[in-house]
């Protein structure tokens, strides 16, 4: 399992519309091969900065499978009108950690 981190700065005043567009697009991710889940985080220090975190079974499930699919075109059509700048995308692998142990 790997994670996609996409940092997205949204145009001023577009925050609610962007959030609605992501909500509308969730089924595109849930139907994609290798996608384990999607979370959208909104910045506290910079409230027009969002981080989309997507879990993929493999890097290629994102970079080849999803990006090469019709679903990606539909995803971008929904959200890109709200982008202030192009998303900054990085991928990472979990190294360690997890939930706080129970009973603490």
């Amino acid at each position: 399992m790997i994670l996609e981190f996409a940092e997205i700065d949204v145009k001023a005043g577009h925050e609610a519309d962007f959030e609605s567009a992501v909500a509308q697009a969730l089924p595109l991710f849930h139907a994609a091969r290798g996608c384990g889940g999607v979370q959208l985080q909104r910045g506290i220090e910079q409230p027009n900065r969002y981080t989309l975190i997507v879990r993929w079974a493999t890097l290629e499930d994102h970079t080849v499978g999803f990006r090469g699919s019709e679903a990606f075109t539909r995803w971008r059509a929904l959200v890109s009108p709200h982008f202030e700048t192009p998303p900054r995308v990085q991928h990472a692998r979990p190294v360690l950690g997890g939930d706080r142990p129970r009973g603490r």
Copy 2:
């Protein structure tokens, strides 16, 4: 619940030592008030770039409680010798999403 994202670039060749130091420091987080869990992610495109993701009950549990504690001093003593640059810290709130629905 909020998330802390700390992006940390580690000195070349220090990756294994940094990961060991974070593993050693996990109990400091698990004992901290409001900490719900810690994950360490290692970059794929830039393998000396790590993202530490910490769940906190409130922003102040991190910025006031943890940063003002002895545990923070011990955490920094363990990991800072491996920092290439100062960590870039942001906080965010979950807006939407989660695991992929079961049965897909």
